[in-house]
């Protein structure tokens, strides 16, 4: 059974039990019986949660890979940003060139 099928089965079991619960409680002989009915319901609910957890656990590797890929992407984007910043430095350097030319020209 796949995790998806497991979850569907767990949900169906809980819903079926919930639908039958009023009748079960109505036929309960005493409080101990009622407690037992509630205990079964609680276990079925826990089983549904466990089935949900199984789906998440199956993605653990994908989550780890995503974290690494996101960190790598951010690093690469930072490098690109540094490249753009270098353009600003280039412009500044060009301005310095011209300033130097102006200074030198004034000496002529």
């Amino acid at each position: 059974m796949t995790p998806d099928e497991g979850l569907k089965a767990a949900r169906a079991a809980l819903e079926t039990y919930d639908n039958a619960k009023p009748a079960l409680l109505g036929s309960a002989a005493d409080d101990a019986d009622k407690l037992q009915i509630e205990q079964v319901r609680s276990d079925l609910f826990a089983a549904r949660q466990t089935a949900q957890i199984k789906i998440f656990n199956a993605s653990q590797q994908a989550i780890d890979d995503f974290g690494k890929a996101a960190a790598a992407a951010l690093e690469e984007i930072r490098k690109s940003q540094a490249g753009i910043n270098e353009i600003k430095a280039t412009l500044s350097a060009l301005t310095q060139v011209v300033k130097a030319v102006v200074q030198a020209a004034s000496l002529l």
Partner: protein
Amino acid sequence: MRVFLFDYREGVAFARAIRDGGGRNMKNLNQRTALFAKLALVLLAAVALFGCAKSDLKDARALASLGKKSSDNLAEFYGLLAKEARDSAQLAQVPPNVENQAVTDNGEALAKALLVRKSIAKKMSDVYAALGGLVDEKTPAEAEAAAKDLLDQLKKLRDPVLPKIGGVDPIPIVQQGFNALTTLVQQREFRKQAPRVLALLDNLRDLFAREKVAYEDIANSYERELRNAIQGRIDKGQVVLTTPLNDYFSVYSLSLDRVVADPELKAWLRRKVDTQWKQREIAAAELVDAEEKMLGTLAKASRDFVEHKEGKQESQNALRSATADSIALMTNFLMKEEVKR
């Protein structure tokens, strides 16, 4: 850094030569002409490509902004699911339900898993924010300011020191060129990084598609437990009637505030809760679908941009609309949560 034909180190070396050698080097008119000719060529080329790049950059900015917004919305969705997983576990233990440590532990484990997903959606948002930073509008403005500075210097250099290149005055070219050059570099870097971000987004979509059944189930489970808890209280006559009838009575400036004991009123309340529960179940499923649709349109818009496809404007509009729908559904859902509490 080498930008097309022009290597700024050449310019810097030239500047140093001027600084170190004084006026003697300035007599080399050919050297100056060559430098400015190269600069003008680079800037002319940049200006020629500028119009296209500027439009591309506008799309890039919109895509990065929408990508961040969608990712933030997805993070909020995961946060909501984490809360519902934890609340479901608590509601499932409200008497007459029995206490069960496994249910509490599972609720915590589910909330933790969903908060991990919230953090990866936030990472996706960070990546889009960084991508948007590559094409911010500030950088070309700074380049323009630098160009103005340069222009002021060039004006001082006009005849006879600054030669005209082929009879063309380089000053207007420089003025437009610096902005264009920066825009082109921004465009190039954005386009270099966009496929990487798209691959990341595809991974996130795959994860969502694989786990969608669990998201729907958690939302469904929460709604069911909430309904059960409310109806359990109604059955025991512990519910204080305020809102349902007050909606009608308020026009007469009257309100009810009493414990419901009347069997007929209890039955009516149960039916009303059932009706609302069904609506909430549908709304919860719609919210999950809306998140999936939003991710799909984000991927399409990103792919259309990366692949220079026709109609990328339409795909961005679709993304804008899907994100707005998802945010509206989320807001509506959260408002109901507020009212409920």
